[in-house]
Amino acid sequence: MSRSDVAASTFGKRPDDHADSPEPGKVNQPKLGPIGWLRFLWRQLTSMRTALLLLLLLAVAAIPGSLVPQRTSDPNGVTQYMQNHPDAYKVLDSLGVFSTFASPWFSAIYLLLFVSLVGCIIPRTRHHLAALVAKPPRTPARLQRLIGYRTSTSAADVDTAVEAGRTVLRRMGYRVERYGDSVSAERGYLRETGNLIFHVALVGILLTVGVFGSFGYTGQKILTQGDVFTNVGSDYDSFNPGRFASIDDLTPFQMKLDAFDATYTFNQTTGAWDPKDYVTKLETRQPGDAGWTPQTLKINSPISIGGSEVYLLGNGYAPVLTIRKPDGTIVKDEPTPFLAQDANLTSNGVIKIANGLKEQVGIRGFFRPTPGPDASSVLSFAPQLSKDADVFMSVYVGDLGLDGGTPQNVYTLDPDKMKLVAGRSPTTQQKVGGGPIDLTLGQKADLPDGLGTIEFSGIKRYVSLDIHHDPTPTPALIFALLVLGGLLLSLFVPRRRVWITAAAGEDGTVLQYAGLARGEDTNLADAVAEVAERHRAALGDGPPPDDSAEPSENPKPRM
C-alpha cells in the first residue's frame, strides 16, 4: 500500500484531485449517459481545480470594480465618468462594470464558487462526522515507509510495551486503539473541523448579506439647526429600502440639531485647513419619551436610535435669507443649506420662490465663510465662519418649472425658462441689472425690477446624516469570527497518525514508531521522536545508545 493509498483510506473524503487523494489510475471510461454526464459535471464543479479556477477568476473579476467608479459607493463618480467619457461609458455600462459586484458575470462566478463549495462541504462533513466517532484505522503492515520511522528495543515484554504506548499516546491527546501488538493513534480532528467551519461560515456570510440584507434600509437627511427630523419615509431627502424592507416599518423617532462645531488646523505642507474634529450636538426623542435627550454625534461614533444607526456624513452652512415683498411682508425666512464645493466650504445653494412675489424667482447663491483678501477670487479663504462671511447671488425670474410635475432637485436651478435679472451673463460675463447681489451678514438689498428686498439675516449650520437600518452586522460578525476561528484551526492544528508496534526480538522487545501526516506537518518526525522518547521513559528503559534511534531515510512528504 503506497502512502497516498494509506492517506486516502484513512483520512476523509476529498475531491479526487486533492493533493492527498490517490493518484487516478488508468480508467476505461464507459460511455456516459445523461445521468453520467451530470455526475461528471458535478464532479468537475466540485473538484479542487475548478474551485481554484473560480477563486482566481473572482479575484480578476473584482479588478474592474476598482478601476471605474461604482454606482453603490460613488454615484457622482459614475455621472462624472458618463460626462467625461460618453463613448466608453456606453460600452462599460452595457457590460455592467459600474455595478461590478452586482453584475451577472461577477454573481455567476461567486455563485458557482459557492455551489462548488457546498458540493464539497456536504460529503466532507458527513465523512468527518463519521470519522469523529470512528476508531483509528488498523496499523499498516510496514511502517518503514512512513514518516519519522524509528526502532528501538526495550526490556519490557510486548504486552506491557503496547499498553504503555497506548497510555503515552492518550496522554498526548491522541485517540488510540490497540490492534494486536500495535497501537494506532490519531489526533488533530479539529483541523478538519476548523476547515469545515471556515467554509460553512463563508456560506453563512453570503446568505446573511443576501437574505438579511434585504430587510434593511438607508436614507439621507440634511438637518439644519432648528429643524426637527421625524423618521418617516416622507421626511428623508433620499430613501433606499432593501427588497423586503417596508417604509411603513420605520420607528418614528425624532432628531433635532442643536449645534455643530468644527475645528481645523492649518497644514503647513499643503497650505490648507485640515479638519481636526467635528462635534455634533443633537437632541433625540423616541416615541413615548416625555422630553428630548441630548446626544453627541461624531465621525466614527454613530448614535443608535430606534433600531437605526445615525452617521455624520457631511456638514455645511445654511445662510438665512429673508425675502420680503415691496410692502415689507415676509415671503420667505428660513435657512437654506448650501453645499460645500471645496475644503474651505465655498458653498453654493439655490432658493426658489414660487409664490408670493409678482413673478417666480430663482436665486443662485455662493456663500463664503471667510472671503479672502484677493477681491477677484470668489472662493472662500478658510472654512471657519468670520464676520465678513458673505453671499453672492444671481437672480432669475420666469418659470421655475415646478408646475410640470417632474421631480426637482432643490439644489439646482434650471434657468432654461428663466431670465437673468441680476448677476453676470454666463455667456458674455457682462453685468446684468447691476451685477450679482453681494451681502454680508445683516445687509439688505433690493431685488431688481421692484420684486422686493432680500436680507442676509443669519447663518445656521447643518449636518448631512446617513440613517441606516441593517440587520446583518451581528450575524455577519458571528460568521466572520467563525471564519477566523475555523481558519486558525485548519491552518495550525496538525492532523497526524502515529503507530507503535512491538514484537519479541533477540535482545528484548523491538519497538517501531512511525507517523503519517494529513496536509502540512513539518514537525511530524519530531512528534514521532517525542512519542518514542516518552514511551521509552514510561517503560523505564535507560537512555538510548546514540545509534538506537535511526532517523528515517524516507524522503519528506510532498510539501
Partner: protein, 336 residues
C-alpha cells in the same frame, strides 16, 4: 517640539537607509562568494570516485536526484550548504541589518511621539512603519529558520520603499484627521502591516523557490549560488508557513477594517476601492493555499500565485493609494 522630533525621525530614517544599503551590498557580495564556493564544492565532488554522479554534480544538475548519481551530487550540495551556512559577508550584513532595524525603529518611535499617535496615518508614516515591520519580521523569522539568504531581497526592497517614502511621500506631522481618530487605527493598520511583513518574506521565498526549481531542472546553470540555498521543496514549505500566517493576519485585517468601516461609514462592506483590493489579495492568497492542496498545482504554480499576491499587496499600497479614488484617501498628499 513636534517639528524637531519629526526632523530627528527623518534623520534616523535616512541613517537606517544608509545602513540598509551597506547591508544590501554585503548580502550581494555574500551571494557572489557563494557562487565561488558552490563551484569549488562541485569540483571537489567531481574528483570523488563516483564518476557518473560527479558529472551530474559538475553540471550543477540534480535531475537524477533519485538515481545513481544522487549521492555524490547530494554530498556536493550539502557541502556547499554547510560551507556557506554563514559567510563572513553574511554575518556582517546580518549584523548591519539589525543595527539598521534599531535605527529604523527609533525613527518610527520619534515620529510617533512627534505626532502623538500611531505613526501610520499617511503614506509616509505607513511606509516608514510598514518597512520597519517587514525588517523586524524578517529578523525574527531567522530565529525559526535561517532565511538570511533573503537579506539582499529584503534590504533592497526596504531601501527602495524607504527612498520612495522620504522623497515622494514625505509630509510634515499634521493632526490625525477626524475619520482616523479611532482605536481601530491601531488594530486594523498594525495587523495589516504585520501581514505585509509575512507576505513579503514568504513571497521572497517563493521567488527563490521558483529560481531553485528552475536550477533543479538544469536551467539557470550560471546561478550557482542557488546550490547553497535550501531545496525548492524546503523553500516552498517555509514560504507556505509564512504566507499562511500572513493570510491569518490578513483575514483579521479585513474583518477589523469591516468593523471600523461599520463604525465610521455605517456599512461594513461597500466595495470601496481599497476594500476591493483587500478582497482581491485575500482571494489570491486563499487561492495559493487552495492550490497547495490541489494536485498539479503544488510547487511552481502555487509559487506564482504567492508572487502575484505579493505584487497585489504592493500595488494596493502604492498605486491604489495614490491614483485610485476612494474613501481610504489618507495618503496626506492631496489637498482635496
Amino acid at each position: 517640539m513636534t517639528d524637531t522630533l519629526a526632523a530627528y525621525s527623518l534623520l534616523l530614517a535616512y541613517s537606517a537607509m544608509a545602513v540598509y544599503a551597506i547591508a544590501f551590498v554585503m548580502y550581494v557580495l555574500d551571494l557572489s562568494r557563494r557562487t565561488g564556493t558552490a563551484e569549488a564544492a562541485a569540483v571537489q565532488a567531481a574528483s570523488a570516485p563516483a564518476g557518473a554522479g560527479a558529472a551530474t554534480a559538475a553540471r550543477g544538475g540534480t535531475a537524477l536526484l533519485e538515481r545513481v548519481g544522487t549521492i555524490t551530487s547530494r554530498v556536493a550540495e550539502s557541502q556547499a550548504r554547510s560551507v556557506n551556512k554563514a559567510t563572513r559577508f553574511q554575518r556582517t550584513a546580518f549584523a548591519l541589518t539589525v543595527v539598521a532595524a534599531v535605527v529604523h525603529v527609533g525613527a518610527i518611535v520619534l515620529r510617533g511621539i512627534a505626532a502623538s499617535r500611531g505613526p501610520w496615518a499617511n503614506m509616509y508614516e505607513f511606509s516608514l512603519t510598514g518597512t520597519g515591520i517587514i525588517v523586524v519580521v524578517f529578523l525574527l523569522i531567522n530565529f525559526w529558520r535561517d532565511v538570511k539568504f533573503l537579506g539582499a531581497y529584503i534590504t533592497g526592497f526596504v531601501v527602495l520603499l524607504l527612498g520612495l517614502a522620504v522623497t515622494n511621500f514625505y509630509v510634515a506631522v499634521t493632526p490625525t484627521p477626524p475619520p482616523l481618530q479611532s482605536y481601530w487605527l491601531y488594530i486594523h493598520i498594525s495587523v495589516a502591516m504585520l501581514a505585509t511583513g509575512f507576505y513579503a518574506v514568504g513571497g521572497g521565498l517563493s521567488i527563490v523557490q521558483l529560481l531553485q526549481a528552475a536550477r533543479e531542472k538544469g536551467k539557470l546553470p550560471k546561478w550557482r549560488f542557488l546550490a547553497t540555498f535550501p531545496s525548492s521543496g524546503a523553500l516552498e514549505t517555509m514560504a507556505s508557513r509564512l504566507i499562511i500566517v500572513g493570510f491569518a493576519f490578513w483575514t483579521f485585517t479585513l474583518m477589523a477594517g469591516a468593523i471600523w468601516a461599520y463604525h465610521a461609514w455605517g456599512r461594513y462592506w461597500g466595495w470601496d476601492t481599497k476594500e476591493v483590493w483587500t478582497f482581491i489579495i485575500w482571494v489570491v492568497f486563499a487561492g495559493y493555499i487552495h492550490a497547495r492542496a490541489t494536485r498539479g498545482w503544488r510547487g511552481t504554480r502555487s509559487a506564482w500565485l504567492a508572487i502575484i499576491g505579493l505584487a497585489a499587496v504592493l500595488f494596493n499600497f502604492t498605486i491604489v493609494n495614490l491614483f485610485f479614488q476612494g474613501l481610504h484617501a489618507y495618503s496626506g498628499l492631496t489637498t482635496s
